[in-house]
């Protein structure tokens, strides 16, 4: 380990210089607006939680949590996600509130062991949780809201892939009886290892027909026809029920007019043992990483002794910032350059311009730094030099210099 230099930060943590901070603030604000319009109220939870409560309930692996200890020797974690703390809140602080609950959040979450550029140890999530509703309308609502949130971030070319964990489970179990083999197959899909999945099928010695049926299940396909294909291949009540749910979700989404950016992909399972129904991920053309993920998680709330159905999603704001074409241009500013004698006049001018909603920077003209170093094309320059107030566009800088 070499000696730390002054500029170093822990691996996976990042600074946001003004342009990035502005872009984040603006995109987050646009997403927040959408959440608010759909009736989702913002909540805040602590940065630190107990491992034994929130940590154990979280979908994130224990190895990926930052841990420390309190004075009583309890293990604390930096929140690895926002869903588990909100579940804790729903089971305690919000216990008396009538259902359903529509909650939203915008906060940073932490993941340890991400030792590489591009993988963040701290990143920002904006998301919603819809708690108390078991129906497909609730699932469609969060998916439609996810699409609106992406659009609010100026993303145009994106796609949402929807899977369903009990559909996948039922379809495989209908063909393969061995529990441990089913789990291994699902683990391979979770790791996106299609080769491993097929090799396992070969090892199990399943029929060509079964292989073909599984291939049909796992192909990515846009549109409702995929559901019809699968319906023809199954007698399992579990699968049939899942298909009905997805048909309903599809119809609701058709009502929202958003089906064109949706495909079905039944290889998706999210974190194994966490999601209980539909699961979805969002991608955009210009980024290799998913922008959002979410789904139904009807088991989580029972970890806090308040069993309730729930569904939601989280937007990865850092990824969205990377994918969004929005540049976060700096706002139009007024720069008031004044000679020391006219400081009070300059302040007065600044107050009135700020009242009108303008950005105003006061600049003493005999400072060591010239405003010409940082003034931009869109800025307006006002000079108070004693010859009365004068106003210039920045393009006239040279003309101005002669006046001084």
């Amino acid at each position: 380990m070499s000696k730390l230099r002054g500029f170093e930060k822990p691996t996976g943590f990042h600074d946001m210089p003004p342009e990035l901070a502005r872009k984040k603030r603006i995109l987050e604000e646009r997403v927040r607006n959408q959440f608010e319009r759909w009736g989702y109220e913002e909540v805040l939870t602590p940065t630190l939680e107990f491992y034994d409560t929130v940590g154990k309930a979280s979908a994130i692996l224990k190895e990926k949590m930052f841990k420390c200890m309190d004075q009583q020797g309890n293990t604390l974690i930096l929140r690895p996600d926002q869903t588990a703390p909100i579940a804790r809140m729903v089971a305690s602080v919000l216990k008396k509130k009538p259902l359903p609950l529509r909650l939203s959040y915008h906060s940073n979450v932490f993941r340890a062991q991400e030792n590489e550029a591009g993988r963040h140890a701290e990143f920002y999530q904006s998301g919603v949780e819809l708690i108390g509703l078991p129906n497909t309308e609730a699932d469609a609502e969060v998916i439609a809201l996810a699409i609106e949130a992406l659009q609010a971030c100026y993303l145009e070319s994106f796609q949402l892939a929807i899977g369903h964990v009990t559909l996948l489970d039922g379809f495989i179990r209908e063909r393969i009886k061995d529990d441990s083999a089913v789990l291994r197959l699902k683990e391979y899909l979770g790791q996106r290892n299609m080769v491993g999945f097929h090799q396992e099928l070969d090892l199990l010695g399943v029929s060509e027909r079964t292989k073909k049926e599984l291939a049909i299940l796992l192909r990515i396909s846009p549109g409702k026809e995929q559901l019809l294909h699968i319906r023809k291949l199954t007698h399992s009540p579990q699968v049939q029920q899942a298909i009905e749910q997805l048909e309903e979700i599809w119809n609701h989404l058709d009502g929202y007019g958003v089906t064109s950016s949706i495909v079905f992909d039944f290889s998706l399972i999210g974190q194994i043992h966490y999601y209980t129904g539909m699961y979805f991920e969002g991608y955009s053309t210009n980024l290799g990483f998913p922008l959002l993920s979410g789904g139904r998680y009807d088991q989580l709330l029972s970890c806090f002794d308040r069993p309730l159905p729930a569904t939601g999603f989280a937007l990865d704001i850092n990824r969205v910032m990377e994918a969004s074409p929005f540049t976060g241009d700096s706002p139009k500013r007024f720069i008031i350059g004044y000679k020391p004698l006219y400081h009070r006049q300059a302040i007065k001018k600044a107050i009135s311009l700020r009242k009108e909603g303008n950005v105003v920077i006061l600049h003493r003209l005999d400072d060591a730094f010239s405003y010409k170093e940082w003034v931009t094309e869109q800025d307006r320059v006002i000079l108070l030099t004693g010859e009365g107030e004068e106003r210039y566009d920045v393009n006239d800088c040279d003309a101005e210099r002669k006046n001084l």
């Binding site: 796609q159 892939a161 299609m194 090799q199 990515i220 955009s284 990483f289």
Partner: protein, 210 residues
């Protein structure tokens, strides 16, 4: 446009041959030793680049390449979040533990390897605590000069081991080359990737039946 990351070295020629058989019109001048590291075929909507095999999954995970060809050994070592779509069944070999023929467990076992993750994981599963030493090449040298008592490395014919007086002690995994895809590309370019997969699958199956 589909961008493909190709591995330099062992797998390159075979992989190129397979892609040509699958119907991609890749010109002859795209060769491993040419100085050109990239090749674009605008009509075919394809672009290629050459990378170190160990780096191929990284390029694909980050999405600068949509798909890539790489050995399973690298995937096991790098554990990148990519889709492993197809076993191309080329460049077969094994990831093995090797040592001198009279190897006996020493007091402080040391294993030299280019695959520290694979080695650490494997010996942990075997219930052995070993010290893993990361080397960048000529791994066979380690037992000869006494740096380590065993090595973990790729074995194909076993000739290199034999020439250095070593024997294969245990096989960790069998290795072939794989087609991998970026998570985003797999969705946003589904049709192109699925089509290529189908073409490759039929080439592979023909190859097997011959």
């Amino acid at each position: 446009m589909l961008t493909i990351a190709m591995p330099k070295g062992r797998i390159f020629e075979e992989a190129l041959c397979l892609l040509r058989q699958a119907g991609l019109a890749i010109p002859e001048e795209f060769a491993e030793h040419s100085r050109k590291l990239t090749l674009t075929l605008p009509e075919a909507g394809l672009s290629f680049f050459l990378a170190k095999p160990m780096d191929v999954p990284t390029y694909v995970e980050y999405g600068v390449a949509d798909i890539g060809i790489v050995g399973k050994d690298v995937l096991l070592e790098e554990e990148r979040d990519v889709y492993e779509l197809l076993d191309l069944q080329i460049s077969p070999c094994r990831l093995s533990v090797a040592g001198k023929p009279d190897w006996k467990p020493p007091l402080y076992p040391r294993v030299a390897t280019k695959y520290p993750q694979v080695a650490t994981r494997y010996f942990k599963e075997q219930g052995q605590q070993v010290e893993v030493i990361h080397l960048n090449g000529s791994i066979e040298l380690a037992p000869i000069v006494g740096l380590a008592d065993r090595i973990v490395d790729i074995v194909s014919t076993g000739r290199t081991l034999k020439e250095n007086g070593l024997v294969e002690l245990e096989v960790i995994a069998t290795v072939t080359s794989r087609l991998i895809a970026n998570r985003g590309s797999y969705r946003m370019k589904t049709q192109m990737i699925t089509f290529l997969c189908e073409q490759l699958t039929s080439v592979i199956q023909e190859g097997v039946s011959v």
